[in-house]
Amino acid sequence: MSSKAPEQKRKFRFLPEGTSLHKLSAVATLLVLIFAFSFTSPAFFTVNNGLTVLLQTSVIGLLAIGMTMVIITGGIDLSVGSILALAGVIAGLTIKIGLPVAPAMALGVFTGAACGFVNGMVIAKMRITPFVATLGMMLIARGIALQLTGAAPISRLGEAFGVLGNGALFRIVEMQDNGFPKVIFPGIPYPAILLLVMAVLGWYLLQKRQFGRHIFSVGSNEEAARLSGVNVDRTKIWAYTTSGALAGIAGMVLMSRLVTVQPNEGVMYELDAIAASVIGGASLMGGVGSISGSMIGAFIIGVLRNGLNMAGTSAFIQMIIIGIVVIGAVYIDQIRNKN
């Protein structure tokens, strides 16, 4: 019994010890970034900008939750950016037809889940590698989104469509004497709350449910999982479906924030999501990863983007910097795997 005490101290028992270290270093990186950007731009470290970062990160964060699950199975999902756009287009078009906002958005999320389900079927049943299957879906979903809209944005969707992306909980607004409203407390943006809820749900699924355990098993050793009676195909199909559904939700948040449906939105978002997962410690070889890590990763990317914007760095330079960060993160991942 005496040997039990040190065993229970370690929290992330599925992951090599290096992973908690990795997570710590990711948090440290995030703090260093925040600290550095506070100096380059005085407006960076303010409540309002903090909320902006939260808002911007929520989309990447939502994508990263699903991406993490897929990456833990040893796969990858390149289609989330396109699925996000298609889900938005479906929601926008059905609102135009006359559907109320809530069911239209639900339909959008369902579209995302359906695309993810197709990904899973193609990967599990047709035995096509995740890279190729989701690359195909990336083109298919984007193509459908552009075809349905004629590549034109859908606007004038009504105020209700913008609530999810622009609303906030506990927002306090006071009318001033001059007739203009004054925001006393900007509130907690709905997208941030949604991200928190989904992240907790994702953590619960991965760590506490059989489905999550099977995701780890499949990614760690697919053949062993199959021989042990894990339904490998079903696990994969559900992982990709979850990723698709989360892409759908991310689409709703993003389009709602713009109050316009843009079929061109979300190009290359999958790369941000993958980068967030990898920075957060997920291994592209499968079997390793965590939601909390990916959330830290998402915030590193969000803060990096926002901070560089505030410092006036051009979009081109930003691409270069984020590219270097991604390569660096994957390189660290490889060193970790060697040990």
């Binding site: 028992r13 992951l15 780890f216 098993s217 050793n221 053949e223 062993a224 999982a225 021989l227």
Partner: protein
Amino acid sequence: MLDSVQISQPLVEMDNIVKTFGGIHAVEGVSTDLYSGEVVGVLGHNGAGKSCLMRILSGAMRANSGEIRVNGQTVDMKSPQDAREFGIETIYQTLALANHLDAPANLFMGRELKTRFGNLDDKRMLSEATEAIRQLNPNFKNLRDPVARLSGGQRQVIAIARAIYFQAKILIMDEPTAALGPSETAMVADLIVRLKNEGIGIYLISHDMHDVFELCDRVMVMNKGRNVGAFRIEDVNKDDVLSLIIKGTLPDSWEPRGGAE
């Protein structure tokens, strides 16, 4: 009377099993049986079809034709889950462990224990795994480590514990001692005797002649996909078995040796 009926009923009968891959005949019309409380050695070259035959029995592979009967009932095993429902457990040569997961997660892989809310019952899985594993190896301490970091012997213990925890009636052991040191090999040998005495039927795939003659009641030898001989262990010696493995036939001078004693 009742006893003799139970003894005459084999646990497993495999009848005329055929498995082909394209034009290659991996298993050609092999029949074998296994009784309760008996260890049957399955011998042969690499590629003789022994692992293939055992994979068919463990549900990991489906035969092209042939019949499998468990306790006299014809069964159709589409997956390892099906085989497990008939009490067939397999210890694979590769061990089939998920390296990133810890010992309890591996032991219960595919058969996770759940609380009544449907959540994973990690606490119970840990305590059950601790008990099951310490029966085999009392020195096993680091149960929460990913199994990638454990020694070959410890990994083997997890694979064995996984098979016997679920009350196997039929156990397939594919080279269970290949990766083990002397003391661990002795532990596995003791375990096989214990399980056999509990009435479990064991198919033991092994290359180690010493193990085979020590532990097995019967041997069957496979050569080029065929069953070239099944004997009580008393009727053959090592040279006879080697001849069967290499040539596919017994030495010309062979006669049942058990009868001479």
